[in-house]
Symmetry: C2
Subunit: 409 residues, 2 copies
């Protein structure tokens, strides 16, 4: 299932010119402790000490590995570069809806550019990827904010002190998750008084209109604000509550939400970082990207009835009437495979009827039946397993006949 | 590179009707300690204790996971089943030619059958996979033996005691790797006297002819002997020195060897097991399979000059004369992608000439150039980046024009 779904996504991503990369699943533990945030480093890391005494961790996310590879190849790369990967990541946490300890993730990034063209491309790509899954626009929404806008709201409009920016951002991140009294109390600890809190509430709840209150300077520094003024504005909905926890985001942050009433959670998200690879190089490498996990995606496809049918393993089966004809069957199967037809032959001797049932269950729509007397006359039987009809066909013509029968009517 | 090569192999495997599966990279450490052999369990396992106190290991191989999945689904599966996977595995060892700590491996198995039809199919599939990589028959050879034959050589012909079968097999496994005096000494410890040792030497060195000396009973129990009598005999060369260390093999064992003089090592191999999933179910599940690793494969392709060229990321690029035309470029790129053309647009504003060089480097063979005055006249320029020729084309016709230019001449 994941293979089929992900394959469609890879095709879509590659249509935009993204190159595929990969990296090791074990990395030095420090690279996560430095950048991935306290929750991951302290509680969710699968770490081990190898026989050489090195502290290693199973990657909980791909970004630090990508940063190391980008930094290591910075001399050879022509920025901006478009990269994507498909990797398995581990986080030690209680398995729950949408979160398992091992998950597969597609990461898509543009490295080496500050331009809002990146945002537009990434947003457009997300729309195409969702379409490739069969999702229509009523099923999901892309919401975004910008750390530049958030900063302007908190400092310029509400009056939060600059050094309290991080905890104040975290307050907004928790807005919908904790009771209002708790927010008020937490805000007070950050020096946000009642009046300021009301102002914050008012601003956040004005949604799109907040942008009218932001300083022109902040607006001009915000890639998201630029996107929202242009042709791509309908791809994304501004939402000041989008914060995202990971510390390396510095600009645009975005999340795709499922709109299904039973499953109104974030499906995936990403953001812009002004300097990804600071741990590995002095060259500033900005970028923007997102990671899309298989678990939440699977839930999304399930609730919307978009899960693909289990794949048919074969198109055709070549079956002998008598086991002594297995060499002939293998020869015919070989010819079909050369023509691109996925073809099976029996492994265990079995009655013809049973073998045809088995072939159908494996997805075969056509069977080639090889009989002793038929083979002597240089013919085989080509049977349409769906229509339940069969014809005798000269061996010289059987591949064409099978391929014709496999064509959609 | 690996993606391209492996993709060709997946296509070949799927033509035989194998279904793809996957499994977790972390498994309980015990499942390797029970079956993978002492060397892996004691020295090569990356293990860790999770926060729940469980001892886990990064899988060093896929077979035990496959066994668990097969056993867990045995009630639902219709045996025999054809399965394959592509997984990353870890072994802690000194990195050296052909061996790295993390490697990717394709595993291919038929589960649930004792029939020699399995051997024939697996051998044929290996031939097809090697062809798919561009390898010709002078580059490699498939050698096989059978534990049944080995047992008959050691017990019936040489006279080794049955309880010394395992160490005597290991002796043969080490035959080419240690000096003769060492073999003689080790043999003596196993109760093999000089005369018996000479007989063993004689038998092993007679190659294919050994089969003439094996008891009819052993021959009839050997799937490999059956294969060597039939139509598929040219797919494989009998070699009594093939032993393979992994303890679960009980019948046919085989290895593919590179024939290049600089790299005459085993590329990959596999074998037959009479009961794979004994640790997980009482149902006997026999089978046969092999694992093909990326590292040795990479070496093989390199020494034979078969490594594929780095892939071109895009087919076409849509480039504006002026950055203000980016929305139009994106719209044209969207139309090309809908037609299946991998298309990039610029991210950073750049001079046209530079952008065309960049597009060529990304693999684009065609550029669509959008100019202000041309756009007003509803035309664009379609430039063949290889032939360095360009024409003005009405926007309504540009997708056809680009697709025509991308056709191989």
């Amino acid at each position: 299932m994941r293979q089929q779904v992900f394959h469609r996504l890879f095709e879509t991503i590659e249509k935009y010119g993204y190159a595929r990369y990969d990296g090791p699943i074990l990395e030095p533990a420090e690279i996560y402790e430095a950048k991935s945030g306290q929750e991951i480093a302290d509680q969710q890391l699968y770490s081990l000490v190898d026989r050489g005494g090195r502290r290693l961790a199973l990657r909980p996310e791909m970004t630090p590995s990508a940063a190391r590879m980008i930094a290591g190849n910075a001399g050879k790369l022509q920025f901006p570069v478009r990269w994507y990967c498909n990797v398995n990541c581990h986080r030690y946490e209680r398995p729950q809806r949408g979160r398992l300890r091992e998950h597969w993730q597609i990461n898509v990034d543009v490295f080496g550019s500050d331009s809002p063209n990146c945002e537009i491309e990434i947003f457009e790509l997300i729309h195409d990827m969702m379409s490739a899954l069969g999702a229509t626009k009523d099923m999901w929404v892309l919401r975004a904010s910008d750390r530049v806008i958030l900063e302007s709201i908190l400092i310029d409009i509400v009056g939060v002190e600059r050094e309290k920016l991080a905890p104040a951002s975290s307050l907004i991140d928790r807005w919908a998750k904790v009771p209002r009294e708790r927010l008020v109390a937490d805000a007070e600890e950050l020096g946000i008084d009642d009046k300021q809190f009301h102002r914050l509430e008012e601003v956040l709840q004005s949604g799109q209109d907040v942008l009218g209150e932001i300083s022109p300077d902040a607006l001009s520094r915000s890639n998201l604000a630029t996107v929202l003024k242009g042709e791509a504005k309908d791809l994304v909905k501004f939402d000041p509550f989008i914060v995202r926890g990971l510390q390396y985001y510095t600009g645009t942050v975005f999340e795709v939400f499922d709109l299904h009433p039973d499953n109104t959670r974030s499906l995936f998200g990403g953001g812009r970082y002004s300097d990804l690879a600071g741990l590995f190089t002095t060259q500033r490498i900005p970028g923007i990207g997102f990671g899309m996990g298989d678990v939440t995606l699977h839930d999304f496809l399930s609730v919307h009835g978009l899960r693909p049918q289990p794949g048919a393993e074969v198109d055709a089966a070549v079956v002998p009437i008598d086991d002594s004809l297995m060499p002939e069957c293998r020869e015919l199967a070989r010819r079909l495979r050369q023509e691109g037809v996925r073809t099976s032959v029996p492994i265990e001797p079995r009655k013809l009827g049973k073998e045809l049932v088995r072939a159908s269950q494996d997805g075969a729509r056509v069977a080639v039946i090889v009989g002793v007397r038929e083979w002597e006359r240089d013919v085989v039987i080509v049977r349409d397993l769906v229509a339940q009809e069969q014809v005798e066909v000269p061996v010289a013509e059987f591949t064409q006949r099978v391929k014709a029968a496999l064509q959609p009517a």
